[in-house]
């Protein structure tokens, strides 16, 4: 149909708007309406305009709420700061700031906000909810249980409060109590929708955390029977099966979980590790999630497994550079995938200048920081860090890092560019016997062959000085075999 409605040319075009009384209030009301209608993305620009036009903390608080719902805690924290500037540290402002910090993985700071809020409003629901959740995130489980338990007692019929208490019980290791609470909840046939799905998931996760793998699997499968396809339940089933070493049975669950949440790098990596894909390296999200989860007990676990790489690397330096430490030192050291700082711990005596650590996991970096050895610690993906780095390094170490990479060429080339002409590059990787350059194992780690390593080094302009097999650590009853490699820039 031809639209001729512009003829004659429009004479009553809307006039241009300018800031005027009432406009900001209208924006705020409309933004609030959209937020209540669960359309945070549509509410956001309206609330942004309202907040900028009004000297009103409420607009900033709503903007922060929309940002949190859109998984943007940084913007939420900024909104909380703006709200604080307008109306001071009210409980609502503190709660928003605390929730944002919690979402950013900064529970201690969130707890400080929550504590301040409780000082002002001892009985406020949102205040106590934040307090309970931050205590839980800070591993102060007894206190968290006290707060969340109190909230639950005030509203025992509230499924949200019940789920939060069950979750806190699970994190506190009170698995029986969590299971009982969830069973009671699920017995209620009227419980439906999201709350029921969450209860089913928590029941399975609780069994998994308790180490009752069969029960975890059964609960996950029962949950799937009820809810249909659900990524989190499939993931839980898969974790239970992986822990039982039933890789083949875990595979379909991981595949489905990955299909349902294709943007989740952690799931993509796990699915790949059982043979669905051939990714060129582990997803950064996977690495950081795995290690954030492991960080508190990681070092003890590794050392308990007879982790030898730091010692091997130190001895290799000493063999290559007689007199190292006593007569002279390495000018500086870049520790790629530094983890909790075991390499720094072992090598810092032989380094004269700066020691820089790079890792994806904030939890690992926090543990490295506590050692007080590193001059700089950076949370970044290795390739990104190498790209941003301007230093020339006398020594670069990558211990047990390439087990998260399949194709090495690009990373090795980037390392070559940051290596001083007289610099040393030392790394370990798990060994693969076979014709291919690398493969992704069912453990989720990559293995590399000798031929593949030589080829990758040559392509990257690096020359191997040492390449030999070494036992890296125990895995179950077996000894995990790997390669120790030292390379220099090719002339």
């Amino acid at each position: 149909m031809i639209t001729l409605h512009s003829l004659p040319p429009a004479q009553n075009a809307p006039h241009s708007a300018s800031p005027r009384p009432g406009l900001a209030a209208r924006l705020l009301a409309e933004g609030e309406r959209l937020l209540a209608a669960q359309r945070p993305a549509e509410a956001l620009p309206l609330l942004q305009s309202a907040a900028e036009a009004l000297a009103d903390g409420r607009a900033w608080l709503l903007l922060g709420e929309a940002s949190l719902q859109l998984n943007n805690p940084v913007a939420a924290a900024e909104a909380a700061a703006a709200a604080r500037a307008v109306e001071g540290a009210t409980p609502a402002v503190l709660v928003l700031a605390g929730r944002a910090l919690l979402s950013m993985g900064r529970p201690e700071e969130a707890l400080a906000e929550a504590a301040e809020a409780v000082m002002i409003d001892r009985h406020g629901h949102d205040v106590r909810l934040l307090l309970g959740q931050t205590l839980k995130a800070c591993d102060r489980h007894d206190e968290a249980l006290a707060v969340l338990g109190e909230l639950w007692q005030e509203a025992p019929g509230d499924s949200g409060a019940t789920l939060r208490l069950a979750d806190a019980l699970m994190h506190a290791g009170s698995h029986d109590a969590a299971a009982e609470l969830l069973a009671h909840m699920l017995d209620n046939a009227a419980l439906a929708g999201h709350a029921r799905s969450q209860a089913l998931l928590l029941r399975a996760q609780n069994a998994l955390r308790r180490g009752n793998l069969e029960a975890a699997l059964a609960a996950a499968l029962a949950g799937l029977e009820e809810t249909g396809a659900d990524a989190a339940l499939h993931t839980t089933a898969a974790h239970a099966l992986l822990a039982m070493r039933r890789m083949g049975d875990a595979k379909p669950h991981l595949l489905i979980a990955h299909r349902l949440a294709p943007d989740d790098g952690y799931l993509a990596h796990l699915a790949a590790s059982v043979g669905a894909f051939l990714p060129e390296r582990a997803d950064a999200q996977y690495v950081s999630r795995v290690f954030d989860g492991y960080a508190p007990g990681f070092e003890a676990a590794l050392l308990g497994l007879g982790y030898r790489a730091p010692g091997l690397i130190l001895r290799q330096f000493e063999a290559l550079l007689p007199g190292l430490g006593a007569e002279y030192k390495l000018r500086n050291l870049l520790d790629l995938g530094c983890g909790t700082g075991l390499i720094g711990l072992v090598l810092h005596d032989v380094v004269a200048g700066s020691i820089k650590g790079v890792d994806l996991s904030a939890g690992m970096l926090a543990a490295a920081q506590a050692k007080g050895i590193y001059t700089e610690l950076r949370q970044a993906e290795i390739n990104a860090a190498l790209l941003a780095d301007q230093e020339q390094w006398h020594a670069i170490v990558a211990a047990d890092v390439f087990i998260y990479f399949g194709t090495l060429e690009a990373t090795l080339a980037a390392i070559g560019r940051r290596l001083a002409p007289d610099g040393w590059f030392v790394f370990t990787t798990e060994a693969l016997d076979g014709p291919q350059a690398w493969e992704l194992g069912e453990t989720g780690r990559f293995r590399h062959s000798e031929a593949g390593l030589l080829q990758a080094l040559a392509t990257a302009g690096l020359e191997p000085v040492v390449l030999r097999r070494e036992a890296l650590r125990r895995e179950g009853p077996a000894i995990l075999d790997g390669f120790l490699v030292v390379a220099k820039r090719a002339l």
Binding site: M1, I2, T3, P14, P19, L23, A41, S49
Partner: protein, 772 residues
């Protein structure tokens, strides 16, 4: 005391103060009294045009042409209306006539420019605009046209910066300026509605839906809710199917711009989707009167009438769309409900007309590498891969397809983020979201890019279905399955119809443009919803009377169906009938149904009507139903399965079309074939007999779920094995085809004539398991 002003004076005063509606009775009064007839007629014509009553305006404007032979304006107005009705030659002649009378009639020049633009003559359009600008150099509307025809980006930018040109300038900027520039401009002038609106439109084009809607909303607020912007936002919300939000905005837009065809069409469609059927009907009828019989208006009016249960009127209106693909596709969606034209033979006739209007791509001989036994990539194509009859009747079978033999690809035209939609995603080895904005050829090409071996259509000619895209052939083998599977598709490149012996008994072949791919049991595999309540006890036992029920949509309730129900209720003086469907929300539609029911001798005091309910509530409502009554000639598909799952046996009548035999298939597959009648007399007798055997009914009800679970209707592994065999069979035949064949209608006949076993043996001997 001064004498009262003459009506004409009063009318002019009203018009000049913008009270157009108020002027109408005064101008009509002039005509009735014979006062100032010529000018009153002209002004009445102009006023009616401005109010969007184009059809009503035409005779007044034509009279004004005769009465005022030297005046350009009535000719220009008639030309404007002709242009909106796509009568291009007439519009052009009228604009030229206006210019002969008044060579400086600027708006006629602009009208000619727009006609040239519509016909792809940008140079001609530009010349007319240049001529008009000499006379009205500051006219913003002309400047917008100049920028549009000349592709002058700088002018387009300047118009927006200077606040000229209204919504037309905004639309142009959204098309011509890139997103980054629009973002920067909107950010630099955060309270300026024009840049926000242009940014919003551009974001919507770039599929940034939430951001686009938000920007348009900001523009609306910044403009103090200018009606033009409300209309613009309403159009976008309607496109997103947010009808309740869109409706008041579209109404506001129309109030300021009655002659805007796009707003009027979208508003009427929104009313249809909101089940405000009587209002939708009026809105479509008015739009057709004012803007002409545009195919989409005709189709949607026909759909509205069909939803009201007016099958006769619906089909008559759909015929006004002519023999275009869109019109015939629409007719294929409506005709199966018609009591006479819903026969298999009549549907085949329409499908053949549709086929004649569609492409006939030749079926090429298979290229080297076709292997009859290799793993097949099978694409399932539709807009309702989720909680929809398509999901309930296909999903469990698709989930059970053997992974080693079938790679499942899903081509989804609409995101369905529900429990069933996630199950489709979970099973799909390959998932593609396709934009419904793509035209048929582009859709087929998008699917073809993945090189599926077989594509299964799950949309048909129903709402959201795009079966005509497969006319451009997306895969070497194409099969029609569930999803508005009411008749043959008529699509020449559709190779097969997946069916069963109940749906298409021997002899049905003549009514299908596809070859029939018969499953050994049923054609569908039912998944009951987990939220279905338990089967309730037979209500008649406690109530002392039988309650019949039909929860099918009103499109299926024909006069003959009502008459049969009338006979049943007359024979059983205490029996009741409950109807439950969304269209009964609409009060006029409900009232019309009551009138029709009364005419069919249904005792109204024993008739209970309910509007829409949630799926859970609908299933629970079967607790009140002893016996379900299936409609005809369009039988219940999913509704039949649901009635049975809730324990209510189904009295059905066998029709001839695919839609007419859904219940025949389902009932036979659960061992209740004797509940199918062959004619109305048998249908009534079956219902009456069942009502007289309450103990038998109670027993049947109590055992219905066990019966269904044990039947092929719900045996997903068995169905999947049969489906795999059927897909393999179709593929093997395709692999055996080594010669180029003529278009499909001929080709399918050849396939039918060949000895299929020989073909399979031939293909196998040439390299089963290897690449040929």
């Amino acid at each position: 005391m001064s004498p009262p002003l003459a009506p004409f004076r009063l009318a002019l005063s009203a018009l000049s103060s913008g009270q157009t509606e108020a002027a109408l009775p005064l101008l009509r009064q002039c005509l009735d009294r014979g006062e100032d007839v010529a000018l009153a007629g002209l002004n009445l014509g102009i006023a009616l045009t401005n109010l969007g009553h184009l059809a009503e305006a035409v005779p007044h404007l034509q009279a004004a042409c005769l009465a005022l032979p030297d005046l350009a304006e009535p000719r220009f107005r008639l030309g404007q209306i002709a242009g909106q009705q796509e009568r291009i030659a007439a519009a052009r002649a009228l604009f030229h006539e206006a210019l002969i009378l008044e060579p400086e009639h600027v708006t006629s020049m602009a009208g000619l420019a727009m006609l040239d633009e519509a016909q792809g003559n940008a140079d001609g359009a530009l010349q007319w605009v240049a001529q008009a600008l000499l006379l009205a150099p500051r006219e913003a509307g002309l400047l917008v046209m100049q920028a549009r025809f000349s592709e002058d980006v700088a002018l387009c930018r300047a118009l927006l910066s200077q606040g000229l040109g209204g919504v037309d300038a905004v639309k142009l900027a959204a098309q011509r300026l890139d997103l980054a520039e629009l973002r920067a401009a909107a950010s630099a002038a955060p309270l300026e509605w024009r840049w926000q609106a242009a940014l919003g439109l551009a974001q919507l084009t770039a599929e940034e839906v939430e951001a686009g809607i938000a920007a348009l909303r900001l523009a609306c607020i910044f403009s103090d809710d200018a009606p033009e912007l409300q209309g613009l936002l309403g159009l976008q919300l309607a496109e997103q199917r947010r009808d309740a939000e869109a409706e008041p905005l579209l109404a506001a837009g129309i109030a300021a711009s009655h002659g805007d065809a796009e707003l009027r069409a979208s508003y009427a469609l929104t009313l249809l989707r909101l089940d405000r059927l009587a209002e939708a009907r009026l809105a479509f009828e008015a739009a057709i009167a004012d803007f002409g019989p545009h195919p989409s208006l005709i189709c949607n009016l026909a759909l509205t009438l069909s939803n009201q249960g007016l099958q006769e009127e619906a089909l008559r209106i759909s015929d006004e769309g002519g023999d275009t693909v869109a019109s015939l596709g629409c007719r294929m969606g409506i005709q199966p409900y018609h009591p006479i034209e819903g026969s298999a033979a009549a549907l085949h006739r329409t499908a053949s007309r549709l086929g004649a209007a569609l492409p006939h791509p030749p079926r090429l001989p298979h290229p080297p590498g076709f292997d009859p036994e290799r793993r097949l990539r099978v694409g399932f194509f539709g807009a309702r891969l989720g909680r929809h009859p398509v999901g309930w009747l296909t999903l469990s079978a698709i989930e059970a397809l053997p992974e080693a033999e079938i790679e499942v690809a899903c081509y989804s035209l609409k995101t369905m983020d529900d429990a069933l939609g996630r199950r489709f995603q979970a099973r799909a080895d390959l998932w593609r979201d396709l934009s419904p904005r793509l035209d048929d050829a582009a859709l087929a090409a998008a699917i073809r890019a993945d090189a599926p071996d077989i594509v299964v259509d799950l949309g048909g000619h129903g709402e959201g279905g795009r079966v005509t895209a497969l006319a451009y052939r997306a895969a070497p083998v194409q099969i029609k399955w569930v999803g508005a599977q009411s008749a043959t598709t008529g699509v020449p490149a559709m190779d097969w119809m997946l069916t069963d012996a109940w749906q298409t008994p021997p002899g049905s072949e003549a009514h299908y443009t596809e070859a029939l791919l018969r499953m050994p049991d049923g054609y569908a595999c039912y998944t009951p919803p987990p939220w279905a309540p338990d089967v309730a006890p037979l209500p008649a036992l406690s109530r002392g009377h039988v309650t019949f029920g039909c929860f099918n949509n009103l499109s299926k309730i024909t006069p003959a169906v009502l008459a049969a129900w009338g006979q049943i209720l007359t024979t059983l003086p205490r029996a009741r009938l409950i109807l439950r469907t969304h269209a009964l929300r609409d009060a006029p539609t409900r009232a019309a149904l009551i009138t029709r029911a009364a005419a069919a001798a249904i005792p109204l005091e024993r008739l209970e009507l309910h509007g829409p309910s949630s799926h859970e509530e609908l299933l629970a409502a079967y607790a009140e139903i002893d016996i379900a009554l299936d409609p005809f000639p369009y039988a219940g598909g999913l509704t039949a399965c649901e009635a049975l799952w809730m324990g209510a046996p189904l009295v059905a009548m066998a029709g001839s079309s695919f839609a007419g035999r859904h219940a025949v298939s389902h009932l036979n597959n659960i061992g209740l074939g004797h509940w199918v009648a062959e004619d109305v007399e048998g249908y009534v007798a079956r219902a009456v007999a069942a009502a007289h055997s309450l103990p038998a009914l109670a027993e049947l009800r109590a055992g219905m779920r066990a019966r269904m679970k044990a039947s092929p209707l719900m045996d997903a592994p068995r169905f999947a094995a049969n489906l795999t065999a059927a897909l393999r069979h179709a593929w093997r035949l395709r692999c055996a085809q080594t010669q180029p064949l003529k278009p499909l209608s001929v080709q399918t006949e050849r396939i039918k004539m060949l000895d299929k076993q020989k073909l399979i043996a031939c293909a196998a001997s040439r390299g089963a398991g290897k690449r040929l």
